[in-house]
Symmetry: C2
Subunit: 311 residues, 2 copies
């Protein structure tokens, strides 16, 4: 359809590697904590996934479990630097931190360091009411038309769960993008090549679009754990139900109801008892469970949600 040399672009792979350790959600970053691991797409492999897996395991010495492509987007930063169009192909990968080895040139960071407003495990984060809410109100009113004010406020309220709206943990990306629009994240000022308006902007910023990519990953993962048993990729081979619950809570950023969570797990027959008991915990010792790996096969079925006609 076109001559070849003209439309060539630079393509990079960017990975969001997630682990949950001691009930905290963690991501692998470079030493500075401001970049996600990224590398050139060289691809002597058949699929991009294989390429990514090989690259990650070579560089981090981490075995990589579940991998899924997130999104492909143009990278304005790198395009400018290189003078060529650049795109980034981003991936979400689930692993576990290894106690023995170092992170291989990178380091693990709590993901709420970058998104402090996303952690509702102990109730609404203070900075929501203290900082973000007033800014959103101010922004809503900073437009002449009454109609437009309402529209802005409705968007803000729904995105951040204000004004009677429920908090929806899946809207990570929408929240980041709204904060970006308002100049409430450092990246907005960087991209506009201006010094920030205020000294303290919430959350650690990152290079390039990496914080946006992380937001995409968090949103995807928070959505996914609800209908696919991917949490188990983050668990050790044997675990207690409380550990499992805390892992889900770490990802979802919300506290869960203990009994109902347990009923849900057992009713879906996702786990089976090992017969062993956990040791060295406070309180009554808990049964150890393992993931029933054959559910990965069984659960190709998803449940239809459409009112099918006569079976």
């Amino acid at each position: 359809m076109n001559d070849s040399g003209l439309h060539s672009v630079q393509a990079d792979l960017v990975a969001v590697l997630v682990a949950v350790t001691a009930g905290q959600p963690r991501i692998l970053t470079t030493q500075t904590g401001r970049k996600l691991p990224a590398g050139p797409f060289s691809a002597h492999h058949r699929s991009l996934q294989a390429s990514l897996r090989a690259w990650v395991e070579a560089h981090t010495h981490h075995p990589l479990g579940y991998v899924e492509q997130l999104y492909t987007f143009p990278d304005g930063d790198r395009s400018q630097q290189l003078g060529v169009r650049a795109i980034s192909i981003s991936y979400l990968g689930l692993t576990r931190e290894r106690e023995d080895a170092q992170a291989g040139g990178g380091m693990w960071q709590d993901w709420y360091r970058y998104f402090p407003w996303e952690d509702w495990r102990s109730g609404a984060p203070a900075l929501l009411a203290a900082t973000i809410d007033p800014q959103l109100r101010h922004w809503s009113q900073a437009v002449p038309d009454m109609q437009a004010q309402q529209a802005r406020w409705q968007r803000a309220a729904m995105t951040f769960g204000l004004d009677g709206c429920e908090w929806n943990e899946e809207l990570v990306l929408q929240r980041y993008e709204l904060l970006y629009e308002l100049g409430l994240v450092a990246e907005a000022w960087r991209d506009a090549a201006q010094p920030p308006d205020r000294s303290l902007l919430p959350g650690q910023d990152m290079a390039h679009d990496h914080r946006r990519i992380l937001a995409t990953a968090m949103a995807r993962l928070r959505a996914k754990i609800k209908y696919r048993p991917v949490v188990f990729e983050l668990m050790p081979p044997e675990f207690t139900l409380l550990q499992l619950q805390q892992t889900v809570e770490a990802l979802a950023g919300r506290g869960l109801h203990k009994q109902n969570f347990r009923r849900l797990i057992e009713q879906q027959a996702l786990v089976e008892e090992t017969g062993q008991m956990a040791v060295g915990t406070a309180g009554r010792p808990a049964k150890l469970f393992r993931f029933r790996s054959n559910v990965l096969l069984e659960r190709a079925i998803a449940g239809s949600k459409l009112p099918l006609a006569r079976s």
Copy 2:
């Protein structure tokens, strides 16, 4: 991380444009019907979506409603032709066929032409029992180990809804890939550079990976209609509930239960009456409805599915 010139690649955009016309699901193809519309990624736009939208509207004269990125993958075919690595960035777009204009160099095709085994609206397709089922059984037994035979058969049965398993309409891609492995689609023989084993392989084949991309799009759309009100992008401004149901049936490839479907729609408050009645239909005239567009705002909420702790 690397010198720049080395890893440049060719990037193309590939679009799966879907419409539902007269209760039939249709996709836009080139005149031959063997290619999806595709074009070079030139991208003077900020986002890839904007780039795609501009490109599609320029080439097809179709306004493009909902757009979503599907997947990015290496294109072996084009890589060979060009001698450079090539990747394709694929998109799903929802539109409506326009009665007035031509398709602008392309044409609309029924998507079940490419996937005849996916249409269960009038019960199980004949070619499933006649052709595919026996081949799957044969393939399952074509391995020495008893254990491996069972594993193969379990995979086949679950993927195609055989042997007591339920048919799951979302597994479009898995089914295509299994058929590809078995050499039951023409592309498998083409890629192996061999003449096909049998003369009649089910479904119209396509160039490159385009049929695989179409499978990805179908799977994504079939999943999406269950939890996001995207069907309305395919509907005229006013419609009857039967038309709406038939559109969903066209996409899902299954017949739905009329009363329960209607209850579902009305209970979710997705539509409102226009006050008008449909004319020129068989049977009793139906009320006309329109989509309540503010639900797009309201339904940022998704429903949590996690057992949250004390509200």
